[in-house]
């Protein structure tokens, strides 16, 4: 359908606050693309600027081969699903879904037929005459999606599409959304503050902070190889272990323990350099027998995650977290060895940026 390209995009609010600060990124045709970041990072502003609900301060936005920077939202061939769905409460489901067609001046019978078709595709049969207030959260979301689909856009924009659903429904809706996107193949950008949602849904994720791009990559890339400490601590359901370290004899000294240098940093660090060492709790291995190149410490806290357990292990002054299988859970106070593979650990320089590729 269409790609989205932003070039040096700036959105400045009256008073000089920059919601988006010089952002250039490309969303490929047909891609499911996530804008991820904490609240106030500018992700919603970026989405609304792409939609045209916010005026661009400088820079360009292209959708397909069209420059839409100065176009009205209604002329951009986009559809947007709002966080609160914004279903018109005084219209039936059918009228809501067919509203874009009404604006396009389609005949009433034609557009209701079209709404019927879209509704069927979203399992909304039998609900077409209801008002939004009479629907469950999940149904409301599907109506909002239906309205977006009916407008036959080149691009979908979703603002926190799952945040209004309760936890159980959210997983269901997530799977549904992914399948829908694959089936329709329409370029989709969605905003979320939930890293798990972004990892689960997106083909690629753009992580933002204070209006600037921190990292752009596939879920695997941002999870395994965060570009900086901010991304490292923001992505992942259990926070990454990030400990101060020093380079010593071609190895790295972390909390009094000498560990092999992470593979990616080899040849890029100087002796005595202060760095931050990082490794995800999921990538650490615990052992009750003595192991080389491993932390040694006592188990202080054990948190059950269901099929796995998150252990906090006190190593010298620091605390190292590790995820182990449920069968492996040691009793409190036990001394254990925690080992890390060089290719699963990372080093960050004093600016917080990852060292090496």
């Amino acid at each position: 359908m269409a790609s989205i390209v932003t070039t040096s995009l700036v959105k400045e609010y009256p008073g000089g606050v920059r919601g988006v600060n010089g952002l250039s990124l490309t969303v490929n045709d047909g891609e499911f693309f996530a804008l991820l970041g904490p609240s106030g990072c500018g992700k919603t502003t970026l989405l609304r600027t792409i939609a045209g609900l916010e005026k661009t301060t400088s820079g360009r936005i292209n959708i397909g081969d069209r420059d839409v920077t100065d176009l009205e939202p209604g002329k951009r061939k986009i559809a947007m699903v709002f966080q609160d769905y914004a279903l018109f409460p005084h219209m039936s489901v059918a009228d809501n879904i067919s509203y874009p067609l009404k604006i396009q001046k389609m005949r009433k019978t034609d557009r209701l037929e079209e709404a019927e078709k879209v509704g069927d595709g979203l399992s909304l049969q039998g609900l077409m005459e209801r008002r939004p207030g009479q629907l469950s959260g999940g149904q409301q979301q599907r109506v909002a999606l239906g309205r977006a689909i009916a407008s036959r856009p080149e691009v979908f924009l979703f603002d926190e599409p799952l945040s209004n659903l309760d936890a159980r429904l959210r997983l269901e809706a997530r799977t549904f959304l992914k399948k829908l996107q694959i089936d329709l193949g329409i370029t989709t950008v969605f905003v979320t503050h939930d890293q798990a949602e972004a990892l689960a849904l997106a083909d690629r994720i753009a992580i933002m902070k204070a209006g600037t791009l921190q990292q752009l990559g596939s879920p695997r890339e941002v999870f395994q190889r965060p570009a900086n400490i901010f991304v490292a601590s923001f992505v992942g359901s259990t926070p990454m272990n990030l400990l101060p370290a020093t380079v010593q004899d071609g190895r790295v000294l972390v909390s009094g323990t000498s560990l092999p240098l992470p593979a990616s940093a080899e040849g890029l660090v100087a002796e005595g350099q202060s760095v931050t060492w990082g490794a995800r709790p999921e990538y650490l291995h615990m052992s009750t027998t003595e192991t080389a190149d491993a932390f040694l410490g006592g188990v202080t806290i054990s948190e059950n995650l269901g099929a796995s357990v998150l252990l906090s292990i006190s190593v010298g002054e620091s605390n190292v977290r590790v995820v182990v299988g449920e069968d492996q859970e040691p009793s409190m106070g036990t001394s254990v060895w925690v080992k890390v593979e060089p290719r699963r650990s990372l080093l960050f320089d004093s600016d917080g940026d990852r060292i090496g590729k």
């Binding site: 209604g74 609160d84 018109f88």
Partner: protein
């Protein structure tokens, strides 16, 4: 046990007495209040159905004859029609202009917006029909709008417009913006958005304003009294003072029946709004 009972008894007696006196006082107060507010109204209930109405309130010799007289009196029913024209005309004027203005004021931050709103409200409460009757009269003479119902509508409409905008803006403010943004994404233009989304969602506010405007105009005596001269254009509030018998006495049969007919619509509307939306206090919802 015994002694306790005794003390309880002795203290219970004055308490009981006080309770009794309190109840008496309360009942007396309510009776007086009811008498004060009910007695004047009784005439409106009885006289219209009395074959020989007088100024005294009395049980009627029941008849519908007074209403027959009313329907035959030239100008009586027409004056109610005039009241309807003035009320609906003013209502439509303030609803359309008020909705447009309050919507724009709610959505676009025009510099000095809040001061403008308060100034307007201030103006409408200090420039009252009574205080401005002289220039109003002269203005309408100069504009050639004297003795015209349009003139009355314009004057009444402008007098309540600030309050209308103020209240409607409140309603517009409470409509979530994402509704309009959603419509906008799909290509709807501002007027269309106002019509498709703003108006339906502000309906309780618009209904309240509509009823309020009608009630205001319906009962207004001064403005049509000053600005209208031709009897066939005069509304009921003024015409009621022209019902005299040939002997120069007020025609009570006519006046009583007419008063009832004239009062019922506003009473009905008030209680409709009350049960539907509840009374709300805005700066001078009835003045």
């Amino acid at each position: 046990m015994n002694s306790m009972q005794a003390t309880a008894d002795s203290s219970a007696r004055p308490a009981l007495m006080r309770h009794f006196l309190g109840l008496m006082g309360k009942t007396l107060f309510i009776a007086l209040v009811l008498a004060f507010f009910v007695i004047p109204v009784l005439w409106l209930v009885f006289a219209p159905f009395d074959a020989h109405p007088s100024l005294t309130i009395k049980a009627p010799q029941f008849t519908f004859h007074n209403f027959e007289v009313l329907f035959q009196t030239p100008g009586a029913i027409a004056s109610l029609g005039n009241s309807i024209i003035l009320a609906l005309g003013t209502m439509i004027l303030v609803l359309v202009l008020g909705a447009l203005a309050s919507y724009a004021l709610s959505r676009v931050k025009i510099p000095g917006r809040d001061i403008l709103l308060y100034t307007l409200l201030l103006l409408s409460s200090i420039i009252t029909g009574t205080a401005a009757m002289v220039p109003t009269f002269l203005l309408m003479v100069k504009l050639g709008l004297i003795d015209s119902q349009l003139g009355v509508i314009l004057i009444l409409g402008s007098g309540i417009m600030p309050t209308v905008i103020f209240i409607l803006k409140d309603f517009m403010d409470s409509i979530p913006k994402s509704y309009e943004e959603s419509a906008r994404i799909y290509g709807a233009k501002p007027l269309r958005i106002l019509w498709d989304v703003g108006v339906p969602l502000a309906r309780p506010g618009l209904a309240t304003i509509a009823v309020w405007a009608v009630v205001q105009v319906w009962g207004n005596f001064l403005v049509p009294y000053i600005l209208l001269q031709t009897p066939s254009r005069t509304p009921a509030a003024v015409v009621i003072y022209t019902f005299y018998t040939e002997g120069g006495q007020p025609n009570l049969a006519l006046i009583s029946a007419f008063s009832l007919l004239f009062s019922i619509p506003v009473i009905a509307m008030y209680f409709f709004v009350n049960t539907r939306y509840g009374f709300r206090f805005y700066g001078g919802i009835k003045s």
